[in-house]
Amino acid sequence: MNRFDYIRATTIADAVAAGSQDGAAYLGAGTNLLDLMKGGVTIPSTLVDITKLPGLDRIETLDNNDVRIGALVKNADLAFKSEFASNFPVVAEALLSGASPQLRNAATVGGNLLQRTRCRYFYDTASACNKRAPGSGCDARGGDNRLHAVLGWSEACIATHPSDFCVALAALDAIIEVESREGRRDIPIVDLHRLPGDHPDIETMLTPGELIVAVRVPAAARALTRHQRYLKVRERTSYAFAVVSVAAALDIDGRTIRAARLALGGVALKPWRADAAETMLIGAEPTRASFEAAAGAALADATPSGDNGYKIELARRLIVRGLARAAAGTPDRLPALPASPFATLAGEIHHG
């Protein structure tokens, strides 16, 4: 690990001032950052420790019924907060399908949003990577790319975003609150991460030094509470990143879908909101035919970036299954294996 200066910030203003300097990085739990620094993938000259900032560790319901989650709330604490998990179960299921219990106990909400791709060529400093070293090329193209992107990729970068949490948040139209020296602003999570284009080294819409202080889940998402699931295909049963994942949420009135939300993980360099599929579902009946049509629309623009054409069909099938599970109803308790596409429905159904 490179040497760095360490600053422990005590106010948000101090943190942002220090974090805006060249070479500075914010330190939350460090579960991703320290891993990257040990590998020499990122070499910040200053770490600005934000873990002692006051007021960022709260989960609160606002007057308008939005829920505001402080950026320093631990992933596990959010998933286990019963009032939150019962209202937004797709978020809890996504969180608990990611990483390990130890990592979820440490990792913060803000850090989860800004974790870096797990593309092995990004991690391997001997490989060409336009994200790590702009202009050096992309060894994932033509390399081992079974797990790489099938939507929104470019010749410069075919990596995927690794977060499960972000996929669920994208489905629920979450808002990110950020603060810089210019003040505070909101960014819809669907706009936070950038597609690679010609500049995969520029990963988010954040300006240098801009600090995530909170995530808001809008009250409107409460209409979808009774019908939402997160499903995730992994290469082992647990503690693995998504090959493909789906966050599905429905508002069903009798036999008609009143509202639909669908987001995909593991397919692109950002959580991928499937707007066209949602449009097709609204007003449709919650049937397999409707779900298959929506799945087709969601992947209409997908193309393999290498040996990963299978992910397109896999994503279609997972969408159908995710929508069917959501339509069947949110389980009264999270399954033993959160987000497992193989779990049976028996005994899981509480809401009609």
């Binding site: 330190l27 460090g30 320290l34 040990k38 873990t51 596990a76 390990s100 219990p101 990592l103």
Partner: protein
């Protein structure tokens, strides 16, 4: 620059002067305090051999900077027995052959103690397995490990 830290380690207060902010909790414990129970397996958060409790919660000590943990209460495998009386999880690991070579065992036991504190499994086999998934055992002692955790939960009503 020196960083002065106040930590509680296995119940005892310690003042630690760090000359380097790069020191992880794992390296602090092993290299500077000579508490070598927590193991350095992968050093990248993938194997769980370094699991300790920080303020009662299990974390990977290899991915935690010591300097960021001012005021924390840390429990390692050295701190769980009561004199010569083993912790119930330690006792259960012996009873169920929850290890072979023993390298992952301190992390497994600390993770199990953390799991019991989280009270999410109800002693259910699949939930225990899922909630122990952050600890790898290359000898493949998973069956004994799982049995030991479930027995401890059932014996104590520990999660209730």
């Amino acid at each position: 620059m020196t960083f002065s830290l106040q930590l509680t380690i296995n119940g005892g207060g310690r003042t630690i002067d760090l000359d380097d902010p790069r020191v992880t909790l794992l390296d602090l414990l092993r290299e500077r305090l000579h508490l070598t129970g927590a193991k350095k397996g992968c050093d990248r958060g993938q194997c769980g051999a370094c699991t300790i409790l920080v303020n009662g919660r299990r974390i990977n000590s290899c991915l935690a900077l010591a300097v960021s943990h001012e005021g924390a209460a840390i429990t390692t495998i050295e701190g769980v027995a009561d004199g010569d009386t083993l912790h119930p999880v330690q006792q259960a690991f012996i009873a169920h052959d929850g290890f072979q070579c023993g390298f992952c065992t301190p992390g497994q036991i600390m993770s199990a103690i953390g799991l019991i504190g989280e009270a999410q499994t109800g002693g259910d086999l699949e939930r225990v397995r899922e909630n122990m998934s952050g600890n790898l055992c290359r000898c493949g002692a998973y069956r004994g490990i799982t049995e030991a955790v479930i027995e401890t939960i059932n014996a104590e009503g520990a999660e209730a």
